[in-house]
């Protein structure tokens, strides 16, 4: 029997309409959440108020010439950094605000679960001043190796370096350090790129340094491309000369990217013993600068050039317990309009000289994602991911995305002129987005358990920092929200899992041990912590406008000891520790020789 064409078309119509139905079904996501969503092994509790943290970020205001896009331009500045100001072994917190006259807050840990704001007495409160600029963030490190952590505050305006005098008071040493530079910066990191035992400073720049956002000579200050912009400010590398002096070595070291860098992180990605620099660039591809023995950096592609996006933050963690530091870079996703997708880049630098993006659809789309951090919240030996989201929450019924879609593809002459952009008015732009907490299920992929573990805020998250604030083997999360209250999420991991943490005291390396990498090797012991390698780094700044606890911690699962820990000190010294009992902090001093 031969069917007529009409019948044949009718037969084809069945799979045709089934395809449309399938698309509708796939739009909804998984039919059933994975079983372990109900048992993530940890919970977060919002204990911000109970801890006495009442910080509310205030955003900047700028020249009225760019009033039409001010909500966009002023949508950064909420930052948080973990430090130990007084060296008492309990993490403190420093938040920045961004409106002239608004105070930054330095919360000293009272060791009883509460904090007190000591910023004013420490001379670290009043840093938002006309003429100096507004704060965008801070990064802490002991640049003079006196045993106390100092702080660099970066601004849309002048850099500010404060020396920690006695654990309670700080002195402005910006000018004497040679750092009195106008940089419209959103980020900075400490690293010892030449391994001379002194912390050097890498400052990222966003707007050009000839842009004064309060006295604009032109409105042509924006990006010249949505995804390939190169007209941003120039990043700067300052070499620590010792004696409290820094020298600008940007050009001779080859690290002066002008790609609108929003965040930087440093680690020895290729295991050659020298710290490299990884950049998350807004409106452009990520960049990796490999360190050539402290003599110069080389910009390498490493597979990063193929996905030009809008990098918001860069954080490092061992995503799959391979003993490598992988990279997570957040980007923008807005359903129907734009899927730039977050990148989870597997570090294959040693064997293949490249990174491989392995972000699945879940972890790739967190909305308009900002700060993120890895943390083993359940101490099972695998790192989870906390991602803060949301750009501008204003009128929930008006979205700027349609307006954004008009300008985003436009020719650069239109795009780079702020005056050409449609007016924001009171519109939201990816506002009211929930934070995400991605549970690491290994080969099973990632699953968002934010709601199950108690993370339900819809603030415009920016900076995320992790710290064990009560020294109890938990990875607490602090979020600085833009123009909104900060949040402290206390981590409550299941008590069946164990942990171990380290406080490093450097002697030959920089005193803060920033850049030291620790590899924990577990031969067995059962649970997910057994038979794996985990790598951590002492953080000199990562994420977006944030810095984590400088004391690396590891989840051990049900293992009651760590078989072997190898510490790679920034000086090049390796130190091996064996058979360490679980559930305690170890203070480790760098061998003199």
């Amino acid at each position: 029997m031969r069917w007529s064409p009409a019948i044949r078309r009718g037969i084809i119509a069945v799979p045709f309409f089934a395809t449309i139905g399938l698309a509708i079904r796939l739009n909804e996501g998984p039919v059933r959440p994975p079983a372990d969503v109900a048992r993530p092994g940890f919970a977060f509790r919002d204990e911000t108020a109970a801890a006495g943290i009442h910080f509310v970020h205030q955003r900047a205001t700028f020249d009225r010439k760019i009033a039409n896009v001010e909500p966009h331009v002023a949508a950064v500045g909420a930052s948080v950094a973990v430090t130990d100001v007084d060296g008492d072994g309990w993490p403190d917190l420093y938040f920045t605000s961004s409106r002239f006259g608004a105070a930054n807050a330095l919360y000293r840990n009272r060791r009883d679960g509460t904090f007190e704001d000591v910023a004013a007495s420490a001379s670290l409160a009043d840093l938002n001043r006309p003429g100096d600029g507004v704060c965008m963030g801070s990064v802490w490190g002991d640049f003079d190796n006196d045993g106390r952590e100092d702080v660099l505050v970066y601004r849309y305006g002048y850099l500010a370096l404060y020396r920690n005098v006695d654990g309670r008071h700080f002195a402005d040493v910006t000018a004497s350090a040679g750092l009195h530079r106008w940089v419209n910066s959103n980020g900075a990191i400490w690293l010892d790129y030449d391994r001379d035992g002194l912390l050097d400073l890498y400052v990222t720049a966003y707007f050009r340094d000839d842009v004064d956002l309060w006295r604009l000579a032109t409105t042509r200050i924006m990006h010249n491309s949505f995804e390939f912009a190169t007209n941003g400010g120039k990043n700067l590398l300052f070499h620590n000369l010792g004696g409290g002096r820094f020298e600008d070595v940007t050009d001779q070291m080859g690290v002066g990217s002008t790609r609108w860098t929003l965040a930087a992180a440093s680690a020895d990605f290729n295991d050659d013993g020298w710290p490299d620099i990884y950049l998350a660039n807004d409106y452009g591809p990520e960049e990796l600068y490999l360190n050539d023995h402290g003599r110069r950096f080389t910009l390498t592609t490493a597979g990063l050039e193929s996905e030009s996006k809008s990098g918001m933050s860069v954080t490092l963690g061992d995503a799959f317990d391979r003993g490598r530091l992988d990279v997570f870079v957040t980007n923008i996703s807005e359903r129907g309009y734009l899927f730039q997708n977050n990148n989870l880049r597997l570090n294959q630098m040693v064997e293949a000289s490249r990174f491989r993006n392995v972000a699945d659809a879940t972890v790739a789309d967190a909305g308009w994602a900002w700060g993120a951090q890895f943390g083993d919240f359940n101490n099972d030996g695998s790192s989870e991911l906390f991602v803060a989201n949301g750009f501008i929450s204003a009128d929930p019924h008006r979205s700027y995305w349609y307006a954004m879609s008009k300008i985003a593809g436009a020719h650069s002459r239109l795009f780079e002129d702020a005056a050409t952009w449609p007016a924001f008015g009171n519109a939201s732009l990816s506002g009211y987005e929930p934070s995400r907490v991605f549970l690491n299920r290994g080969v099973g992929g990632w699953v968002d358990v934010a709601d199950q573990v108690g993370v339900r805020d819809r603030y415009d998250g920016r900076a995320v920092a992790t710290a064990d604030l009560s020294n109890g083997g938990a990875v607490d999360v602090v979020v600085a929200n833009q123009n909104q209250p900060a949040l402290l999420y206390r981590d409550y991991p299941d008590s069946t899992n164990h942990w171990i943490a380290f406080r490093l005291v450097a002697t030959r390396s920089n005193r803060s041990a920033i850049g030291a990498e620790l590899v924990l090797e577990s031969a067995g012991g059962g649970g997910r912590g057994g038979g794996r390698k985990q790598r951590r780094i002492v953080d000199g700044g990562m994420g977006f406008a944030s810095q984590n606890d400088r004391r690396p911690d590891f989840g051990l699962g049900v293992a009651e000891w760590a078989d072997r820990v190898v510490i790679h000190w920034p000086s090049g010294v390796q130190q091996v520790l064996t058979h360490l009992a679980a559930n305690q902090f170890y203070t480790v001093r760098e061998p003199e020789r």
């Binding site: 309009y337 899927f339 349609y402 985003a408 436009a410």
Partner: protein
Amino acid sequence: MNPASSAGVLPTASSWWSRPRLDPRYLIAFLITLVLVAAQFRYHMVGGYDRLAVALGTCLVTEALLSWFVRGRVVNLLSAYISGLSLTLLIKPQGGVLWPFVLGGVLAISSKYVLQYRNNHLWNPTNFAITTLLLAAPNRISVLSHQWGNDLATNLVIWGFGLVITARVRVLHITLAYVASFLVLTGLRSGLLGQPLWPEFAPITGPMYQLFVFFMITDPRTVVSLRRWQIVVVVIIALVETLIRVASDQAWYLPTAFSAAPPLVALALVGPVAKWIDLRRSAPRT
């Protein structure tokens, strides 16, 4: 199905440029290949060769299977090739998922066989597939987030080749009529709503519109038959697009697809109706 077009070249050919009746799809295929290669070479726009392989493979296989099933023979696969490349360029999925390219390919090609009137398909296949996916699965796909650098050189190359080839294919009047309509209507909309003009003109300098004006509205198989009606239809498309934009400007509720891709939705709404009327009107009376 036009047997000559399925064979590729009509019989009066002489030299490449002087061939008056070269199957227009060859020129269009050349142009879109050029766009893809240039965009990938300069901007890594494809976002992964697996996407290209999946979209292209799905379109070619679907076309081969369906044409064999319906017509008893495998037709020229040039149209499927164009659809595959267009989908690769225009679909930007959530994460690295590939299923939108599979479903998009199946929808694009099978729409030609299912949504017919008097043995003619009504929708431009790529336009139908992308609009349907945007409507059905906005949580999982978006349209062309990877830009073309926002630079003049890339724009000029694409516009230059596009204009030459549309002229050669004798559909330049459609492209120009749409562009003129867009500019006029945008100016009117901008004036009526009190909006600055340049942000409203901005989209047409972007990549989605370039693909739209050179590949979609000029599709020889789905445009109406008479030149003056072709112009009328694209003016109506621009008018519907303007209405969608007015609604979006006013923040009226619309499915995301409307605000994210106004010209694509306008074409999907107007094109088939026009084609249906054209086919009905031009059918021989019995």
